[in-house]
Symmetry: C2
Subunit: 221 residues, 2 copies
Amino acid sequence: MFPSRTVENYLKAILQAEIALPPEQLLPMGQLAAALGVAPGTATTMMKALAEAGLVRYEPYAGVRLTAPGEKLAALVLRRHRLIEQFLVQVMGMSWAEVHDEAEQLEHAVSERLIERIDDMLGRPQVDPHGDPIPGPEGMVAQREYANLLSCPLKTPVVVVRVTDQGPDFLRFIEDNELKPGRSIEVEHRDAAADAVIVRRDAHRVTIGMRAASKLLVEVV
Amino acid sequence: MFPSRTVENYLKAILQAEIALPPEQLLPMGQLAAALGVAPGTATTMMKALAEAGLVRYEPYAGVRLTAPGEKLAALVLRRHRLIEQFLVQVMGMSWAEVHDEAEQLEHAVSERLIERIDDMLGRPQVDPHGDPIPGPEGMVAQREYANLLSCPLKTPVVVVRVTDQGPDFLRFIEDNELKPGRSIEVEHRDAAADAVIVRRDAHRVTIGMRAASKLLVEVV
DNA sequence: TCATGAATTTTGATGATTCAAAATAAATGA
DNA sequence: TCATTTATTTTGAATCATCAAAATTCATGA
């Protein structure tokens, strides 16, 4: 009965927005509404309801923040989403570019029991196909901070660990250029004027825009 | 956008009820409402809407029947449900007693693409774990008629091919007594007064009630 | 054929989720 | 500070799926 699909989606959207926000800073309603594709007034109404239920702290005209119970629930939705993505790629052999939308639906339909079985079958993975960390059964885990292709050192071997964009087109681009998580690369040069980052992958050279470069998180090896 | 989850459930319920009905005979609203666990008036309202959409033929005070488009849609829901059940048992190693409820949720969440992949992976199975036939991608297939343990010949080897009850308790009973589809048995004796059917399985004897016996469909080998 | 009982439909209402547009509050720049 | 822009909240309304209870229709047996 409780968390309806709709509520689960609101909580998940808030959690994901909060991650990109400094601690304590409230998430404005406009951003939340945009993330969910609903009218601003709709988000306001829902926040009042969620605040009533103790899942968020809502300050009129300022924004929202998940409470501890709200965050736990949201993390469990995210856990289901990411385990399902990993499952669809590993077990069902689907392309990583197409699993996001599928998981978006399935995350609200799978039982606790099935999710645990999936987790087992995958050997309790820590990240999904995009490198996004998978929360444990108890909720969120601490996020490791990674550099991206704009902030990492030049001419130093790094490994792609995460791609922070779920868009199928972007993911296909990354795949076509063999820049998926796990791949070893080096940033050769950055050219702010040209809005370009030149990446070396073995003997090949790939040029990507700075906007795209910021979405590739890497770890210095 | 069309078939909402709710509509899919109505169509599926009608299809399953129609199967147990003589051709042309209308399904009364009371039965439909009971099958879905809704108030009779609710079913009436929904039938008017579905008739409007051309998915059912509705005759006030008489009942409903699926139209060709309605039947096709319903069959596709049933296809998803049964493929998912088979998948959960074969691939995920879940117990056949627990897959029904899971499939009830997932059938509304899986994409066409994922269902085709599941179908592939399973080798295009004809039946689900309960022996229920799986409709093809184009809709319903002709149903084979089977005898049940009340109508099959006595003292003749038969193979269980289908169990027409999804209740976990009943399924566990069937499993515990090793009477799952595929199993070879013989009806030794029927005792109407005792409401009992005595079944021989290899050297063992199992006694089951007539109500239960009617739910075990068999094929004479 | 007619009174009764059972099934079905109608009616009025509710809760969840949403929108568009009006009202209001907050932030901004001169 | 104050007028203006921008963001947020409020308001009024719509849709979907549902219910309980009243009204209606159908079928039955005397």
